[in-house]
Structure formats: C-alpha cells, structure tokens
C-alpha cells in the first residue's frame, strides 16, 4: 500500500523532530561567567585621553604572544579629524573584548574557541579545524588565521600571565598608564573605580556582545575597529 499525503507529512515532521533532537543533545560552549562574589571577571579600561599612540602595547603583544608578521592580536588604530589648523589625531587601541556573549564561541563547531569562567575567551590550537567561522563572526575583526598553524588566533588577555597573577603584557608596557586591567567583580579594583567614576563606552554596543574592554574619551567618529582596513587575501 502506498503512503498517503497525511502520513507523509506526519512522518516527515517526526523525522525532523528526531533528527533535531538528536543533534541538539550536543552542548554549547558558552558558559555563565562568574557573578560578583563567585570569582574574578577580568576586564580592561583604556583611557584614550592618556594614550599618545606610541604602540608599545602593540609591540609587547607581538613579542609576548609570538604573533607572526602581517598578523595582529591587538593594535592601535590612528585617525585624524578636522581640517588644518584644527586637526586632531585620535588613537584607538583595539584588542579582543572578551565578550560576555561571544559570537565566536557560539559559532565554533568544535569547541576550539571557548570561554573560561573568569570571562577570558580562549583559543585552542589543537582542536581548531581552521574553518574561519569565528573570525567571520567577530564584529570587531580581532581574530585572524595564523598562517603557520592554519588555525584561528586572538588576544586572550595573556591568560598565561593572568593565571600567575601578572597583568597582560600590553598593560605593563603602557608608558602613559592608559591601560588598566582588573577584576570587574571587585568594586575596589582600579577598573571598577574607573568605570564608576568616568563615562565609559564600548565598541559596537549595538552588536549585543557585552564587551569587557571599556574606553574613556572614545571619539565616536573613530570608534569602528573595521574602518579603513585594507583587505588582503589570506593564503
């Protein structure tokens, strides 16, 4: 006996439900980061009023993280505004925002990009298949594909240093003390005090990612981390 149309649709819905249910027993790699009192939640405050664009932080990052030529885990974008004689240069330090809702973690199909409880978003080289989805998913353009390992890479707040009680390399290297690192869950920390006592902004708040890099003195016209970036093909 041939199957009727009604049976066909009923069975199709059943199959779809079973397949979806089977697939969704897989986990998600997003985690709930520490709430106040549960543990640290790391963040950075960048006081752009102090930054004068020396790039010491960029160099320190390159050296500490062994970032290959042509790739960048963090950098300082420079922009100019106004016309002579009323010209001003703005500096914007760009690094991974270690988002509260990281789209790179949500989109990773293998769990190579994952988030610690302290909020740091980690990148595992050994489990990355190099699909590039996380790089595409990042609204800030702070991930890249390492040409040596063919895996995605990003700033991780120098987690290896943080775990030993040290600050990230960029923080230590800043000549102007424009970069402050600390525990956002500790109201007595320097970052918490700065956020409480200054108007702070984040990059692309409309993306809904909950970034934890805060800026003081951010110029709205210079706030797009993707603006003006020349495009190169990655081999």
């Amino acid at each position: 006996m041939l199957i009727s149309r009604r049976s066909f649709f009923k069975a199709a819905v059943a199959v779809a439900t079973v397949a979806t249910g089977a697939a969704s027993t897989g986990c998600s790699h997003t985690v709930d980061t520490h709430k106040p009192g549960e543990g640290p939640r790391w963040g950075v405050v960048i006081d752009l009023r102090r930054c004068f664009g020396c790039h010491a932080c960029s160099v320190a990052c390159k050296a500490e993280q062994d970032v290959p030529l042509g790739s960048f885990k963090s950098w300082v974008a420079v922009s100019e505004k106004g016309t002579y004689p009323d010209v001003r240069r703005n500096f914007l330090r760009i690094m991974c925002n270690q988002c509260d809702q990281p789209p790179c973690v949500e989109g990773c199909p293998t769990g190579a990009t994952w988030q610690r409880k302290d909020g740091i978003v980690m990148q595992e080289e050994q489990t990355c298949i190099g699909c590039g989805y996380c790089i595409q998913a990042c609204p800030y353009g702070v991930k890249y594909k390492d040409p040596r390992t063919q895996t995605a890479q990003k700033c991780d707040f120098c987690a290896h240093r943080v775990d030993q009680g040290l600050a990230p390399a960029c923080i230590n290297s800043c000549n102007a003390q424009a970069l402050v690192f600390g525990d956002l869950n500790d109201p007595a920390s320097e970052v918490s005090k700065l956020i409480a006592s200054n108007p702070v902004q984040t990059l692309k708040p409309q993306a809904g990612t909950g970034p934890r890099v805060y800026y003081i003195g951010l110029d709205g016209d210079s706030a797009d981390p993707l603006a003006g970036r020349p495009v190169v093909d990655h081999v």
Binding site: A12, C27, S71, I129, K145
Partner: protein, 300 residues
C-alpha cells in the same frame, strides 16, 4: 559616514574564498536536484524514469563535490571529526555538517534504491519522508550560515536565507534541465517535464523579487547596512548586478520568454539549444550570486 580619516590600522584578511562559494553553490544545487528527483519519481516515474535517475545521482555528487572543496579550504581538514565530538547547538556549522552528512547518505541510498524500480517504490517513499526535512534544512542552512552573522550587515538579513532557498531551487532545476539537454532522448524528456521549466521561471521571478527586497532593506536600512552595501558594491557590484542578476536571472527569463513565443517557429534542435544555454546561464549566474555575496559581505 565618519568624519575621521584613518591614518593607520592593520589589514583585514579575507578568510573565505571560492572554495566556500563552491560548497554553498554545489550544496544548494545538489539539494535542488534532490527535490527534482523526488518530484520526478512521484510525477514522471512511469513515463520518464531517466529524469529521476539523472537528478537522483546529480544530487549527492554535487553535495559531495562541494564538501570536498570546502574541506580543501579548512586549515585542518583531518580534524573534521572534531565537529562531531565538539558539536555545539549554537553553531550553524555544527548543524550544517550533521545534516549535510545525513543528506548525502540518504541521497545515495535513494539513488541506489532507484535501480530496484517498482520493487523499491515504498522504500523510496519512506526515504523521501526522511529526506525532505533534512534537505530543506540543508538548503536553508546555506543561507542561514550567513544570515546568522551579526558582524556582517550585508548578510545579517532574513532575505539572505530566502535568497539561498530560492537559489537552490533555481540551480537544482537548471542543472537537471541541462543534464537532460545532453541525454539521447532529450527532446522527449524536455517536452515531458515542461512543468518543471515553468517552475523554474517562477523561481527566477521570485528570486528577482527577493534580491530587490534585500537591496531595499540595506539601502534604506541603518548606517551599518548602507555602508556594507556601498562597500560590497564598490568591489563586487559588477559581478552581482551583471553576473548574478543579468546573466543568471534576467537573461534566462528573456530567453525562456522568447522560446515560448517562438516555439512553433523553432526547430526541435533550436529549442533544446535555447534551453541548454538558459540553464547554463542560470548556473553561471547562480555561482556569481553566491560568490559576490560571500566576498562582498566579508568586506563589511
């Protein structure tokens, strides 16, 4: 637009290239061909079994071809099994890998089952039941993969998924039609599947409408959407407007319309040639559509 001029910043790397386009294109075409196989098995099984056979084998071969090219783009294709171990419910790629692999299996079994003729008809019907939702998901997934990206305003619209679904219908129908044009019994077959050609025409019109809505939603959208459209247009506008729209949609519609109007005056050979050329243009345009959207979207 910003009043600031960027003096220094770092380059942005394009991560995805033609191989990802090929996966989206071949995967979508394979899904479309699979639906043609299911439809032909239901409608033309007795009169033109060749249609079902051609479409049924074209489907998994296309999808497999796309997957092979995609894996060639991966940094570590040998670790692909980690998508199973590390399956993430929030990752479109996890879902896509799972359902795409499932569809390849189902499509291959379906194609092999066709050899049994009437003996395997009931089996094929149950295979169709299992395959339809999977194929629909895979077809939509190829668009949803991009639509889900908040980071890229050009992609982050519902129209991207709708356009991808229509694209798989269009290129799947076009591929099967082109293959039929090369069959020894092509004249009978093409006359016999006339309704599929009408469906193709309707899908082409629907796609033009969808792309228009997509363009409007960007052009009249918020600043990030407008900027994304302008950036993509600057580099990939020609490929999109002339290749995807002109070559892939408008020209085939015009040729199809001309063919219908001049049907009585055209020889059988000329009609077949017209259909073949239209189908080829649709496939070329379909690829250009995928490529211009993929590459243009990465820029903004």
């Amino acid at each position: 637009m910003s009043d600031a001029t960027i003096v220094y910043t770092v380059p942005q790397m394009l991560v995805w290239d033609w191989r990802v386009t090929a996966d989206l294109f071949l995967g979508g075409t394979g899904v479309g061909a699979f639906f043609v196989a299911l439809y032909a098995d239901h409608r033309f099984r007795d009169r033109h079994p060749e249609v079902t056979r051609l479409a049924a084998w074209a489907a998994p071969l296309c999808i497999i071809g796309g997957v092979i090219l995609l894996m060639a783009k991966l940094g570590h294709p040998e670790r692909i099994w980690m998508t199973v171990e590390g399956f993430s419910a929030t990752a479109p790629l996890s879902w896509g890998s799972f359902f795409q692999a499932l569809l390849i299996g189902l499509a291959l079994v379906y194609a092999i089952a066709l050899r049994g003729g009437e003996d395997t008809r009931r089996t094929r019907q149950w295979l169709a039941v299992a395959s339809v939702p999977v194929a629909l998901f895979v077809g939509g997934y190829h668009g949803f993969l991009l639509s889900a990206m908040r980071a890229h305003a050009l992609w982050n619209t519902g129209a991207a998924t709708v356009a991808a679904v229509l694209a798989f219908v269009i290129t799947g129908l076009a591929l099967v039609t082109l293959l039929l044009c090369m069959h020894p019994r092509r004249r009978d077959l093409l006359d016999g599947i006339r309704e599929i050609r009408w469906l193709l025409g309707a899908a082409l019109l629907a796609q033009i409408g969808t792309l228009f809505v997509w363009w409007v939603s960007l052009e009249w959208g918020l600043a990030p959407a407008r900027d994304a459209l302008a950036t993509a247009n600057a580099s990939w506008g020609t490929t999109f407007w002339i290749g995807a729209i002109g070559v892939g949609l408008v020209l085939p519609l015009l040729l199809g319309g001309a063919g219908i109007l001049a049907e009585r005056r055209l020889s059988q050979r000329a009609r077949v040639a017209l259909i073949a050329v239209s189908s080829l243009l649709i496939l070329v345009g379909g690829y250009m559509f995928r490529h211009s959207v993929l590459m243009g979207g990465q820029l903004a």
